[in-house]
Symmetry: D2
């Protein structure tokens, strides 16, 4: 198996596949467990997959309904994080890439020992391996999670490992398949000091990481309803997994509104950094602001 | 008059001054109106000024209680923004520096015409000059404010000009005097998903602009009450006028807490950029966060 | 003039009116100043008024553009609050009703003295009468406002009085005219702990005061987008000026969601009381909630 | 055993008890499982219990560290909700009281059938009984929870039952023991439109249910730091388990502040209803408000 990534498959191209080809395509998203893809092929026949989300849901359903003994096997078919398999270069391509992205292939000797010790402690307490979706995590986060999860009960950890496995599957599907064209990003700015939409506020959007060009990818102005005059800020392929940043020119807005502002206002350019994990979904990321505070949240 | 800035005066050094020296020191903060400083000298005699804020309040009080005719004179002792006085290099040192900081000394011909036109329109409508504290403003903000304020009534604009004049005075005092040692910065992080203080969250503090070293100026961890283990993040001279940025490691925190997070979490490193205008005051700048949203505000 | 209220006029019935009838209908909304209505009649001829808001805007425009001397006359055509005119029963019908609603016709002797003293103080400081839209205010609020406003400058108070006069006009128009059918109430509930709309939450709506039946006037359930399955909660005549109350069954919702709740949860039935002032406008009054906190605001 | 409730025991009175008496006192908080209390007696000997929270933590620790088989027995020592044991009047005193408080002793025939069916479905899916802390729940919430939890995996439900059992134990301890004197209630009001503490706002506190007199139990005014002039709103025995309500006079406050308010302001008296579950803890329940919106949360 070569490590050069293949171009992502379209969802429609999955439809005509034989079981063998389907399993070849997506059988690796559950580690060493192609039977998940096989079962999905059988359950969904004839295949007509319209979103990564629906394929993921079908695979998840297969896993959720198997017996606990089989779930335990699934858990234990994962390698230790930074463990012997990694040292011996025996990881699956997928695991190798993920562990390396998290920096686990370049641990110091001390760090390696720490991981080994925690892996042993975890396995001896719970009877299965520690699983964490590490693609976007740092060594530091992984160690902190490790410590925290060692305090759980076995049952809680068992559930947590299955949850992490589904998350790993999701992230692997995202690298293999082209998402459906359904996702988009919207915004809304509300002036909570005046109880009205913030009209004529300048906003820029940057992609800090992820698929597509980085840097400023959009400049917007709000309309009298506080929404972007262009409606959606990102759609289609531009709406990709990654980390994004709004910058709201809150200071300019309130200056124009005649708000009493300090010489150095409390708020001027307000940055808002957020992740897009599901490229097929709608992300509404609004700002509620006054000259002295603001709120944001993933809305709908 | 030379444009090289003098080192700031200590507040205590004001106490021994004669009226003449006092007016020489702070008489320029109200444009071309040393009589404000004179009146303060008389009102507060013997001088014992313990904070910039109290001196500013005393000067403001003098201005607020004069007759409207005198206030009009005060307004009209200010130059046009980007006007003839600037071209003829006849501005006070203070105005020159402020207008240049806002980029008004490097306008294009078109911009200059636009400013001239708006100045004329404003003066003919209201009978006095347009005043805006421009030290932290851009050409763009100034023009937008200009447009917005042209729609006001004369009385509202009169009041607004006086408000701006007090703001200019405040900013000039900050460049002349060393602030009292009373200001400080605190933080607090609350986990609104669990209704408890966010323990063991990493936070960094950067100075983006202002007095003192720029870049990262502090690294903190929250304690079990969600506050910085070190108590105050900035005190004394380090707590200076400028623009600052907290970065809260919200993603790491919720990962440790075992929150259900997406592969690319909605929130990871949360930036919070805020201005400090009053170096003698307490700024409490907290974060209320869940994995999917947060609020911040200037607290107390 | 009789004090029995006439039934409200439809907006369309204004269209055919002569100037005399139009002024008879709405000339009283600016106290003792029928010339405002006359000017509007002239400006808008032929009359075609489609909303109370547009009529109010036209009247306001007339007032805003007159000279300051004329504005001063307008201010001074108002009676003192709880003043001699009231004692002598010489108020306009409109003022009488408003002052009585605020309890100003049943002051104790001490309260009357206090009002008289403040009226005198105010008039001697500013040269005009104190004006406050009192229809929804209590004696207590009025006195507190009085105290606060005595500290303003003359110009600020002049502006404030004009602002209050426009507000009085608005409230008087609302008692005279049937609003246009454009207003409605919507809701949205977001679960900020999970970053998703709150599905299947029970909500009730009560009218606490105002036009129309009091008590529970609607029971709703949120859909998968966190909005009311019925769309708008109130429309048409039911959407009237008054005080309303949502009750959100937040505790039940989070119990169903499997959130970790205390035996006595921090939040169970969450009440949200809000006023509707403009029956022709859209009020969006959402809830952003986690098991341990919530936000609300007038949205759009 | 008689059903008349005994007066609560003081924590100090537990110290001198023999194992037998200790188990007699608190052995019933884990249903039919006095061995939990016995184990705590042994672990903590000599007994010195300073808070209900610490006793609960010790009991919880005992349960968390037993084997899964023993946990299953603990789960199954609970009766069905509204099940045969209830009909046959064979419940423990504690369960009887709790089920009756939730209205489960007065179900209609249809409701009884629904409960019976769900109990059977649950037991046949998971192999143990459905457990829910019902003391503060309604029939409706219980049924909704039942439905939601039937969709979980066995492991998740196992964990959930144990969680509910700890919650039942906590609520039973609260009925048996006098809490330590450490709990109190505080408040803070911040004006987010002006970025400053809300000074001089009136607040009332009511107890809507729980231990102690119901109705208004406190009237407060905020100081210049936005806190109650009296510091703590409730302390000692007055700070008891129950449901409470703040009413903030936000409308009056903003009127005094000179905020532009509508004739019928959006916010006037703002109610905030919250539960106190832990009488030994600090509850900080603040309000962040502007004229058009507010936030609240359990703070610290």
């Amino acid at each position: 198996m070569s490590s050069s990534p293949s171009p992502p498959l379209s969802l429609s191209s999955l439809s005509g596949l034989s079981e063998e080809s389907f399993v070849a395509a997506v059988g690796g998203v559950y580690e060493n467990s192609p039977w998940v893809a096989s079962a999905v092929f059988t359950n969904l026949k004839p295949l007509s997959i319209t979103s990564i989300a629906s394929l993921h849901a079908a695979m998840k359903e297969v896993v959720e309904t198997i017996e606990e003994k089989k779930k335990l096997e699934l858990i234990n078919s994962h390698p230790d994080l930074a463990g012997k398999a990694a040292l011996a270069d025996e990881l699956t391509e997928e695991s190798k890439e993920e562990q390396s992205k998290a920096g686990l292939n370049s641990l110091t000797k001390e760090e390696l020992e720490q991981f080994t010790k925690m892996n042993e402690k975890y396995k001896s307490k719970f009877g299965f391996v520690f699983i964490l979706a590490v693609r976007n995590a740092t060594k530091y986060t992984i160690l902190k999670s490790f410590e925290a999860r060692l305090k759980n009960t076995r049952m809680k950890e068992f559930e947590e490992c299955i949850t992490q496995i589904h998350k790993i599957a999701w992230m692997r599907l995202l690298t293999i398949l082209e998402p459906a064209d359904t996702g988009f990003l919207t915004c809304h700015v509300l002036d909570t000091a005046s109880g009205k939409p913030a009209n004529d506020m300048d906003i820029t959007l940057e992609r800090l990481s992820g698929t597509g060009p980085l840097g400023v990818i959009g400049s917007f102005v709000t309309n009298s309803d506080g929404r972007l005059t262009s409606g959606r800020a990102l759609t289609g392929k531009d709406f990709s997994v990654g980390i994004y940043k709004w910058t709201f020119e809150v200071g300019d807005y309130f200056a124009k509104e005649g708000a009493k502002l300090a010489g150095t206002p409390f708020l001027m350019s307000v940055p808002l950094v957020f992740g897009i994990d599901d490229p097929e979904d709608h992300y509404h990321v609004p700002l509620l602001c006054s000259p002295y505070g603001y709120s944001t949240y993933r809305g709908s």
